[in-house]
Symmetry: C2
Subunit: 439 residues, 2 copies
């Protein structure tokens, strides 16, 4: 079967999907869970232009059939069941959804006739988490990020000896993952200054964002049965934006010897729309090349196909808008832009490594990539790097400066894919405002 | 209302509960989830002697009434709903269960008359996890353990500067938590030897157990709302035994800078019966005293009542039985005995610290105490300490020696509480056999 779902010429009967600037053209079709304002019932949906296709309604209106209809029936207030069904199911659903939003298909004509029932405006919906996230793991897969952070502590020897062998990661906190838009309260914690013996318990003064990609696990594996590197890519359902809010002052005092804990667990924000691996297929790219003096990956992490197209060419951006900027009507200011192709480890390598000891992944589990930084200053994905631990403040258009985040700051992550001959697709946004610690 | 549920003179119409050696006398009444062999349906139950009271049957047979009956109805294949209801609900259920198993009550007489429907022999049941565990956190609360492990790396300065201020912990893996009895496959992973530049990917040669207590969270908290130290104890539903299987060779190579990951996530075993805080009330004890030159806890971790009775006086033991010992009919050999009163941080302090940044706990979340070691050699709760990183092998009764675990070894944790004037209560066991990595 020829896959027409990426054809750049596709147009939709939903006008806003044809806007060249939209993140959600007919070629994207990302999945999420929303509720109507005033209701508590979660409903699965698909973003298209400024609208949402309500999957349950699509099924009720008989706009989906066969496997796609059965999948839509299984997607209630979470996408875990769909995720568990594997790439075949996702593709089957995608093909019918593509027809449903198109202007030139019989399915599209039928859908347009019942648009009032089928569509919800995104502005009238409240987005929820797209899945029940059983476990959340955060990696450290950007060598530029690891090198920058390491340089601050060990200028002559920034990368630890394990970095080029082991996809470094740690278990994160699942309960405090929140959808984009949820305000983020500045955490309190133990903060230790070199000048004083006793730490204080006080609001973090070094609150930071981290620009990351989130990977949702599709089909899982049984405990004791690793996922081989050749299969690992097919266990990724889709990608989102992820902000791993980090309190640097809490982190530096607590993290020895067992790693970050409360510095990372007060909140983690994710964008609500999962861009599926099917939608991202045209934007696969070679894995970052390893210079000749870097070790080659061990066999359990090495796959020729993954080397050729294991990366995703996603451009990622961070924007900041202070309270003062909002009051003065100033637009959010871009702080950085980086590319997901620069990661040292591919998504498949993260999956293969994670399960190599027999650890089981479950559908809906979330993997963070780690901060996506590049080699240049403009590509640093967190303030710790961008201001070099606060020593090089960033100046905002309002004249304010930032070493770390201030109360009232709104941080917005954005991501998109562009390639000649293909329609641009985007991730929407992952946003959060910093609230004062005084609650 | 006077609480008679701990009276040492209580006897049961279930004979095995009156055996002085049982872990499950009428004063204990631990809760768990079982299924009948051959069935996949999880059922909540209460251990009593060698039997299980089936909670759903107890309700169906109208042996529970009022709040206790409503609770029993809400306990299906997991105890999360009961946990969410708080200490009042647990106590209400406990009072009626105590009457139900007693020989001298009207409720007990009615129960004895329908014993065939009400009871299941433990040997005919398969135990499951007692709750859906949303998040699992592992602490490092034994100062003797932290000092021993630190000594191996820094003989002159074993404890890091943060230890006496911060209850050190890290996020663990929830998906690979298994009930006692589940075999544990030796994990493979990256192992690095100082002599060779490249790590190998091979079965762990330094697989270890860690003797811990697991704390199940009862009522949770909302994101952004810490649980104060004065309330923290009431958010603990009950305790179990926990074995944090650890691959030391994988751990030492992977853990910098973000902490243990795959070395800990291949499996974590828990005993299936949760001994409730109500059952443990007579065995509360003062928190470990801090010498004069130790810092006092910061105010958010300091509570006079917690200092007086924040500890649990539980004796903990580790047994090992090799394949050879089993073949020769030799009993498991005790490797260590330690006491939970020696921990540097109390359970309430772990809860208060965990939520101090606003992180939310959910009913059924699991907290591990960290390895429970004492000051003496006999009280070392893992082989890393007991054999001092393999340099002082342990000799088994079979003549074999152990530096770390071998395939076929069965590790069993046990725990119990004893106090003059009270009936001894126990935790049952947490056991697992090591399977070869070659699968």
């Amino acid at each position: 079967m020829i896959d027409h779902t990426h054809d750049p010429g596709l147009t939709s009967w939903i006008d806003s999907a044809n806007d060249p600037a939209t993140d959600f053209p007919p070629q994207n079709l990302p999945l999420g869970v929303f509720r109507h304002a005033g209701s508590s019932e979660g409903r699965s949906g698909v973003a298209i232009g400024t609208m949402i296709v309500d999957l349950m309604e699509a099924r009720r209106l008989e706009l989906l059939d066969g496997e796609a209809a059965r999948i839509a029936a299984a997607c209630g207030d979470a996408l875990n069941v769909l995720m568990s069904l594997g790439p075949g199911a996702s593709s089957a659903l995608r093909r019918q959804l593509s027809e449903l939003v198109r202007a030139d298909t019989e399915r599209g004509n039928r859908a347009a006739a019942v648009a009032d029932h089928l569509l919800v405006a995104q502005r009238d919906a409240v987005m929820q988490l797209p899945a029940h996230i059983g476990d959340y793991t955060d990696f450290y897969a950007s060598i530029d990020h690891a090198t920058n952070v390491g340089s601050m502590m060990r200028p002559d020897n920034p990368l630890l000896p394990n970095y080029k062998w082991v996809p470094i990661g740690y278990h994160g906190r699942a309960s405090s993952i929140v959808p984009s838009g949820t305000p983020v309260r500045r955490p309190r914690g133990q903060i230790h200054s070199e000048q004083v013996n006793a730490p204080s318990f006080s609001p973090s003064q070094r609150l930071d964002y981290e620009l990351e990609i989130g990977l949702f696990v599709g089909q899982g594996n049984s405990l004791g049965t690793p996922i081989g590197i050749h299969d690992a890519g097919s266990h990724i359902f889709g990608l989102c934006l992820l902000n791993d809010w980090s309190a640097r002052d809490i982190q530096v005092w607590e993290y020895q010897p067992l790693g970050p804990f409360l510095s990372k667990s007060s909140a983690t924000s994710v964008s609500p729309w999962i861009v599926t691996c099917e939608a991202l297929a045209p934007f696969r790219a070679p894995a970052r090349e390893r210079p000749g003096d870097d070790p080659q990956p061990l066999p359990y992490l090495d796959d020729p196909k993954d080397r050729e197209q294991g990366a995703f060419d996603i451009t990622l951006e961070v924007y900041l808008q202070s309270r003062d900027m909002r009051a003065r009507g100033m637009a959010p200011q871009r702080l950085s832009q980086s590319r997901f192709t620069t990661m040292y480890w591919t998504a498949a390598q993260l999956i293969a490594h994670h399960t190599s000891n027999g650890c089981n992944l479950r559908p809906g589990d979330l993997l963070g990539s780690g901060t996506v930084s590049g080699a240049s200053r403009e590509a640093r994905g967190c303030l710790l790097e961008l201001t070099w631990r606060g020593s090089e403040p960033v100046t905002l258009a309002s004249g304010e400066t930032r070493r770390f985040l201030e109360d009232g700051d709104v941080v917005t992550l954005r991501g998109f894919c562009e390639r000649p001959g293909y329609r641009r697709i985007g991730f929407g946004e992952c946003t959060g405002e910093i609230l004062t610690a005084d609650n």
